[in-house]
Amino acid sequence: MASHESHTGRLPGLFANPDMSSFTEFLGAYSPRSLPGGRTPPASRAGDDIPHGTTIVAVTFPGGVVMAGDRRATAGHVIAQRDIEKVFRADEFSAIAIAGTAGIGIEMVRLFQVELEHYEKREGRTLSVEGKANRLATMVRQNLAMAMQGLAVVPLFAGYDEERDEGRIFSYDPAGGRYEERDFHSVGSGSVFARGALKKLYRPDLSAEDAGLVCVQALYDAADDDSATGGPDLTRRIFPVVASVTSDGYRRLGEDEVGALAQAVVDGRYDSPGGPTAPLR
């Protein structure tokens, strides 16, 4: 990296090189080991003792999308953290959530946030929803060697598409495959149970608030059957993180709002432990 030192005092060569608007590309050139994909993967497979994030759900509704995640991180059979946050603002019109290895996932989120803001500041425009989704796919792909050693990260991305005036959801596989999902999706260890609930509770005409309720119901069902997913903790008042993205931008629901949703879901389960029933015919 001789170019850093070659002009003492000036913006070092790479800082002045005008052709990259991607922060990740720049960081990769400037300090390769700062990138999750730039590090040498461990020689042997990582064990269960590294914290893993669990279940994330996302549901679209007319004019936007809601994303929610439970608050548990597990290391093997131990609860590593009971109030971890796994849903984040990516930029003004998108949200990102992570399941899988928590440490690398949170690093990826931070990188993705800077990536979007960096592009916006340099180019004077925001990336398209597809552009953002593709950048994230590249980041996931760069983590493939880590994923092979048991340190996989699987994000879920949700954005508001200004041209279509609708919310869109993108899921990923550890190899960087990017898939657009219709209506709703879930990832993480409890996702199979959550998805069953989403399938029965989703309607195309949900309001923003009801979409949030669907998310909390689905997370409850995931926690019901998956030991790694945390349910709403009414005693400590630890509730899922719920965020919506609409034409008004990203908004994380306040603790009182999510608290009310969680309370309603738990109250309902006293009468019907399996949750709302779908009509049979």
Binding site: H7, T8, G9, R10, L11, L14, F15, A16, P18, F23, F26, L27, Y30, S31, S34, R110, L111, V114, E117, H118, K121, R122, G124
Partner: protein, 252 residues
């Protein structure tokens, strides 16, 4: 080497060259107001900006050659983002950025044949007017720590004089904008600036997360109309409802 040119003469020639280049362009004004820092440029372009966001609380304004200050702006965004990423967002400061720019401009001035024909302001909005920071950087890398207001570009002396006469601490956004526009109109005797020929942005301490915001032409027109009637005496007394529409802090 046929002729000997003394270092003094060399530096003087370069400085004259840079000054001449800068004075050909139109002016930019930066001034503090009650909710933050206001940037106003005499710039009709919607796409080629003279005022830009660098980071959460930091903005950049420049005059001179576009390709040169744009290069500095892009480098500044990288500097800020990489430091914010590797440390924390709070660890990115205008002082650090001003230092990098000063080193950069100083080296270019002394070591290359053609100095940059630019002048910059790097400003960071604080929690109150006392903690606001405004740094002015010139083509040779000198840095000045400014308070209140700064004028740079063509006819900067006339603009600065007008600002000196019109500037008052703690004025409202509309009054500060009026002062700035009047100062920019002092570039020429018969200059009149419409909302559409102005580039205006603020670092508003009442916003969240990213404090930089560009004002659209319609909003600029509104603010100018607001401050038009009353002159300084009215001091934006009736302006509260409009001025606070997106800031939420416009009292008095």
């Amino acid at each position: 080497m046929p002729f000997y040119v003394s270092p003094e003469q060399q530096m003087k020639d370069k400085a004259d060259y840079a000054r001449k280049g800068i004075s050909r362009g139109r002016s930019v004004v930066v001034l503090q107001y009650d909710d933050g820092i206001l940037f106003v440029a005499d710039n009709p372009s919607r796409a080629l900006h003279k005022i830009s966001e660098i980071y959460d609380r930091i903005a950049f304004a420049a005059v001179g050659k576009y390709n040169e200050f744009e290069n500095l702006r892009l480098g500044g965004v990288r500097y800020a983002d990489i430091n914010g990423y590797q440390y924390d967002r709070r660890d990115v400061t205008a002082r650090g950025l001003a230092n990098v720019y000063a080193q950069s401009l100083g080296t270019i001035f002394t070591e290359t044949n053609k100095p940059y024909e630019v002048e910059l302001v790097v400003a960071e909005v604080g929690d109150d007017a006392e903690t606001d920071q405004i740094y002015r950087l010139t083509f040779d890398g000198s840095v000045a720590d400014e308070h209140g207001y700064v004028a740079m570009g063509g006819q900067a002396d006339a603009v600065a004089q007008s600002l000196k006469d019109g500037y008052r601490e703690g004025s409202s956004l509309s009054d500060a904008l009026r002062t700035a526009v009047r100062a920019l109109e002092a570039q020429d005797s018969d200059r009149h600036l419409e909302a559409t020929s102005l580039e205006v942005a603020v670092l508003d301490r009442n916003r969240e997360h990213r404090l930089f915001k560009r004002l659209a032409a319609a909003r600029i027109g509104e603010l100018l109309a607001e401050s038009e009637g009353g002159e300084p005496g009215a001091a934006g007394s009736g302006a509260g409802s409009d001025a606070g529409s997106d800031a939420g802090g416009g009292e008095d």
